[in-house]
Every structure is written in structure tokens, then in C-alpha cells.
């Protein structure tokens, strides 16, 4: 999984039938310090996340698991909203 900040939302009217009703969010991955790390991506939301929140997401075929038994065509999904993270001092 990777840390990211939700920086936007995508609206799509015409899409795969299995994606209907699922929110698409734009993520900026961040490193342990909270700084930008890598390029932005679009991920499906499975936890009710919103813009400005820190979240963590999975990549690959596991990204479809939160929506089981619907077989959703996706390669990234938000699986948790981060309350806070603590680093070693």
C-alpha cells in the first residue's frame, strides 16, 4: 500500500457498467514526510474519502477486492483513510 493525498475527483458519465456508483478520486502519492512522491493517479474509492484527506491505496488486481463480488476493472483503490501517522524520532 502507499500513502497519498486526495487532490481531486473525476466525473465520468460513460463508463464500464461495473464502475457505476463508484467514486473516482485523483491521488498524489506522498512519502513518509508527507511530500509529493511520484506522479498522480486515479483510484476508486471504497471508504468514503474526500479531497484533502490522506489515504492509503492498493495497486494491482487486489484493487478490485473491496468491491467483490462485482468484478470492477481497476488497478488502484483507496482502502483506508489515514487519521495520522507517526515516524520514529
Amino acid at each position: 500500500m502507499q500513502l497519498a493525498r486526495v487532490i481531486g475527483e473525476v466525473v465520468s458519465s460513460v463508463k464500464d457498467a461495473n464502475l457505476v456508483g463508484i467514486k473516482l478520486l485523483v491521488l498524489q502519492p506522498v512519502d513518509a514526510a508527507g511530500d509529493k512522491a511520484g506522479r498522480t493517479l486515479v483510484a476508486l474509492d471504497s471508504v468514503g474519502a474526500g479531497t484533502g484527506e490522506h489515504v492509503f491505496f492498493v495497486r494491482g488486481r487486489e484493487a478490485a477486492f473491496p468491491f467483490y463480488p462485482v468484478e470492477v476493472p481497476t488497478d488502484a483503490a483507496i482502502v483506508g483513510i489515514v487519521d495520522h501517522w507517526d515516524l520514529e524520532s
Binding site: 492498493v58 495497486r59 482502502v79
Partner: protein, 110 residues
Amino acid sequence: MPPLLASWITGISSPDADMQICRVVGTVVSTQKNRKLEGAKLLLVQPLTLDGAARGVALIAIDSVGAGVGERVLVVIEGKAAGDALGKKAAAVDAAVIGIIDQLDYQDEA
């Protein structure tokens, strides 16, 4: 997970980002998360080179062995293996700490 995706996550350019040596650098607290992740401990782990230098971006892995901050650990970056470590089928996880490293010996071939 295809190797290319795994390398994207870790920032490691090796064609096979298999099991990694990482250091636990932090803990992550998440109240609202996927049902299958309930009860799982989330650790922030920093991939390391063999000589202990940080490489790539830190990632979040579930802990199945009771690792703590500061320890060197073994991390699998692959969905099936991570799900097995969590003990749940079809769980939305792609990385797991599966061992704590006591000692690492290697010969530098460079």
C-alpha cells in the same frame, strides 16, 4: 502484482521487486478502512539497499509478525502473499511484513 507496478511503488528499478529488506520507520493509524483490514497493524516501511541506505519511497505494509519501529524487516510486495500473511482470502492488501531480520550477511560482488 506485475513487477513493473511493484517497482513503481518502491521506486526500485530492478525488474523483479520481490521480497524486500526494509526498515520500519513509522506506524499508520486508520479508523475508517476496508472491512478486511480491520485489526491489521499498519507499518510505514522504507526499502533499503543491502548496505542499509534508503532507496525509493516508503510504503505501507500490514504487520503479521509483531515488528516495531526501527527494526529491519522482510517485506513481500505481492497481493497473494500479503493476503496469506494477513490470513484472509481476497483481502485488499499488496504488501506485508513477514519477518524480522536478526542479521544479514552478504558478499559485495561489485
